[in-house]
Amino acid sequence: MSIYGVQTFLSDVLTKQPILSAFESDAQRTLANYNLTENQQRMLAGLPTARLTKYFWMLVSKRLWLGMKAFPLTKSLLPDDFAARFSARYSELNPPAPVAGSPMFSEAMTLYRFLVACIQAGELSSPPYLLDVLTYEMLLFKLSNSPGVPKRAAVANGSHPSDYTDARPVLHPQVEIARFSYDIIPLVRALQARQESAPQVLACTLVFLRVEEEREVTVSKINEATRELISLCDGNRTMRQIAQELSERVSEGSSLQSKIPGILARLTTAGIICSAT
């Protein structure tokens, strides 16, 4: 017999509400499910349930606090009673689980998914740009904390775009592309400066990019044509095929086709796309 049984019970009772409730209503029966000596059972049966409950909620709020550290602007936009309203559900849906890697990263991503679900269910509808701000912060956090950022990868060793038209470009693993409903960059700046602003509804697409030598994540706005071009960089199509496909879609025809290799080359130099092979 070891203290492992004691610690397993404590872990469960402090993180799983059904176990806590069962312990409150019948301590002996709950403890019988654990590998405990009589002395250990006696010791644990005497624990004050009010304090265990307090501990339980402290743990949940600590987890929320840890996850929220990744989303400071989102946190400032959430209603004051967010923790009171959502802690129980967060805990129930996301009991602590084994984590490989950074606990904060894991908690932040769990909280992100939870918040998105709440927003999409209309439970956190105000302000209307909340989802945009959350997505922006999540992508920034995710890329900032991703280990092993590779150096900029070239699609091929050729020095001129025409040299590598048979390469098959793909989005770089350290790049994220997202669409926003609001003009998110000035909105984020205003929130960071705690300035009053009237956010503009203006759909935009941003590229989030982190490369080793630049340390910080860079965020750039791209136009629809570039977004469409990047969406074709799936690692299957060659540059030649991408240029062909895109030029067929637009009226500019052959004049655009001639520009595409140059655009792809610039995206490669910027580290946004790289070779799939």
């Binding site: 203290i3 610690q7 624990l47 084994p98 606990p103 908690e107 340390r215």
Partner: protein, 274 residues
Amino acid sequence: MFNNLPHLGVGLGYRSPLHREIARNPGKIQFLELVTDQFLYTPEDKLSAFLDSVRDFPLIPHSVAMSVGADMPLDFDYLRRNATFVERTSAPWFSDHLCFTKVAGVDLGQLTPLSFDEETVEVVCRNVAAVKRTCDRPFLLENITYYFALGSGEMTESQFITKVLQKSDCGLLLDLNNVYLNSINIGYDPYQFLRELPLDRAVQVHLAGFETEDGMLIDTHAAPVSKEVWELLKFVCAKADVRGILLERDENLDDFGSILEELDIARDILRRFH
């Protein structure tokens, strides 16, 4: 092992929102304590830049999730990352908590109390030996705040801490706010508790503030240090050759001037006795 450690003076727990103010005050902040866990998975380029930005300060790594009290093998990857970080900081010592935080790979995210008995002493000593195998700098264990006691009846907390420190040859990171909170929440005389500890092993002291919720004192690190804790600091400084006093503040960070004032108070107390 502990007699040769440097006297660092009075320091502050590093918190990123305070970065600018901290960087401006290397004279008033004599060392920084870094929460190791926040850096274990930091990309190398960011870590290098950060360490460069705090190069004016001696650094003390302080982790929260070794889980030295857990009755299971420690997470070797965590220990290896911890040791690498300790080496990077060139710290004279490093620390974690006398508690458990993980069971079967699940991180509770909370410092959870141990039962004070011989079996647990053995478990902690076995785990501390594993920590020491990965990092040969002096290792301190911190007494935690707990809101319920596992009353095994075998020994008191002070006896338990003493046995662990002596058997594992660790230093003590004495959190005086935790001592005070436990003395009220659990019910004991904090001065008697301190008298029973091996204060010759008290290398570092933690100070912090607390808040009251539902009749319990909660270790929030969000308020100024209480007068009771300042008195405990005087008591300890009169008895122990403390190498560093560290103020922890996690929230209510806007008034940095008041944080510096607390560091001055601690420095005055330390000077009075050393």
